[in-house]
């Protein structure tokens, strides 16, 4: 079920990536597809995350003036790196995921810029500024989207929430301290 949900989230992310820049120029600094790919990689299913990275990257490249396969290349690499880190380090806490999405964004941008430079295609924007804005936009949007995904998608979180609520209720019932007679 979670696989279907992440696939739907990825399709929505690709559609947003295709349309949002024409609605509002600053939205171009938010990489929606990267946010979902990093989320998928954090679920410890590396193969799925890598395939998602390639497919979403190709979908973005096809409408971009850049090289076909460049975004797919950088996102595949990012998905692999994040899933490897998630395998070794406990990253279930939202606060720990914020630096991960920030680092993923920097790596993605640097790899994307790097492969273009390597193949003689110079992007027509200032590199430092673009990476900085992209880092801010993607990290802020990523944090908000992760909170949303955690609360609406994750069965585990829902289960955990239910457990904690029932524990609080039962502890209240068992409270031996009586304030009034």
């Amino acid at each position: 079920m979670e696989q279907v949900k992440i696939t739907v989230a990825l399709i929505i992310a690709v559609l947003l990536q295709w349309t949002m820049r024409n609605v509002a120029e600053p939205m171009a600094y938010v990489d929606f597809t990267l946010i979902v790919i990093v989320y998928a990689a954090l679920q410890r299913n590396a193969i799925r995350a890598i395939i998602y990275g390639t497919l979403a990257g190709l979908a973005v490249d096809a409408l971009s003036g850049g090289l076909l396969g460049a975004s797919a290349f950088s996102k595949t690499l990012v998905a692999y790196l994040v899933s490897e880190i998630a395998r070794r380090v406990y990253l279930d806490n939202l606060l720990l995921r914020i630096p991960v999405i920030a680092a993923a964004c920097i790596v993605d941008d640097l790899v994307y810029f790097g492969v273009h430079s390597l193949l003689g295609q110079q992007p027509n924007v200032p590199v430092g500024t673009t990476i900085a804005y992209s880092l801010i936009g993607t990290t802020v949007a990523g944090t908000l989207i992760y909170i949303m995904l955690e609360f609406s998608f994750s069965e585990r979180t829902r289960g955990r929430r239910r457990e904690s609520l029932s524990a609080r209720r039962s502890s209240r019932r068992r409270n031996p301290i009586k304030l009034s007679k």
Binding site: N22, N45, I50, S64, A72, L119, N124, P126
Partner: protein, 297 residues
């Protein structure tokens, strides 16, 4: 379905990553070859994306128009009075122009001249912008079904905008002149009146172009207008490119470097026009030259 153990998955992953990275690298290397052709994957993705981009653009532009019309209502009364006065002035001018037009038509008939357009103009609208922040291409809502072909020039009221680089049945992709790989044969001043010939290319700034190879012995001043020469085989001659904003003077042996502000507002434009223009065929002797294949790319 075959269930794989976690260890097996982790063993398999690096190989899959290497395979996918190689595949993407081959795609990139293939795409980087400057052969002027277009990729099937781009064409089909554009066609699919059109079903999302067109409705989103229609809805957002109508919402924006609604709010901007509310904002303009505030200044409407003052504007109305000014316009009434202007109409009266224009009516007087119009009378004079009518006389001139009749005279012009009469003289044309006398000389046997016919009014004819050099190329057809296809109005179009931007429905999508480059999804990556690193580049600045645009998707427009006209495709091969409307007669659009690769490399056709795209213009706006301010001047040239770019050229068509991928054509789907319903949509086309336009690469802007601000891209560093773009090159427009241009001249400072009107063709035939100046010899400040050069090539306009993109810079790392979206609102600035660079004109190179203009002889250092030719005088160029800021404020002069840059036009196309038609020698690049893409843009017809006489279209406005932009205005000279800075000249880094060269010498008798080194060329000028001229900064040009594009005539079109490339960041905010929505309505464009595609010129259904086919460049004139090269003469036979030129096609027989040994580097002809390279030149055609």
């Amino acid at each position: 379905m075959v269930e794989r153990s976690q260890q097996e998955v982790w063993r398999l992953t690096p190989w899959l990553v290497i395979a996918l990275l190689l595949l993407n690298f081959v795609l990139m290397a293939f795409d980087a070859r400057v052969d002027g052709g277009q990729r099937v994957i781009r064409v089909w993705t554009q066609t699919v994306a059109d079903f999302v981009q067109s409705p989103v653009t229609t809805v957002t532009s109508s919402v924006m128009n609604y709010f901007s019309s509310i904002a303009t209502l505030r200044t409407a009364q003052t504007e109305n009075e000014e316009l009434r006065q202007r109409i009266q002035e224009l009516e007087v001018e119009l009378e004079g122009t009518r006389d001139l037009a009749t005279e012009n038509e009469r003289l044309r008939k006398l000389l046997g001249l016919r009014e004819e357009s050099k190329y057809r103009i296809l109005p179009t609208r931007i429905i999508g912008r480059d999804p990556s922040i690193w580049f600045d291409s645009a998707i427009v809502d006209r495709g091969s079904l409307d007669g659009v072909n690769l490399n056709m020039p795209v213009v706006s009221s301010g001047g040239i905008v770019g050229r068509v680089t991928a054509v789907g049945p319903l949509t086309s992709q336009v690469d802007l002149i601000t891209r560093d790989k773009s090159g427009v044969g241009a001249i400072v001043g009107e063709v035939g009146e100046s010899n400040a010939l050069g090539v306009v290319t993109g810079t790392s700034k979206s609102d600035l172009l660079e004109m190179r190879y203009v002889s250092g012995s030719v005088e160029v001043q800021p404020g002069q207008i840059v036009y196309t020469t038609g020698q690049d085989g893409i843009y017809p001659a006489g279209l406005r490119v932009g205005e000279v904003v800075e000249v880094r003077s060269g010498s008798a042996t080194t060329p000028h470097v001229i900064l040009v502000r594009p005539g079109s507002k490339l960041e905010s434009m929505q309505e464009l026009a595609i010129l259904l223009y086919e460049p004139p065929k090269k003469p036979e002797f030129e096609r027989a030259l040994p580097n002809v294949e390279k030149g055609r790319r």
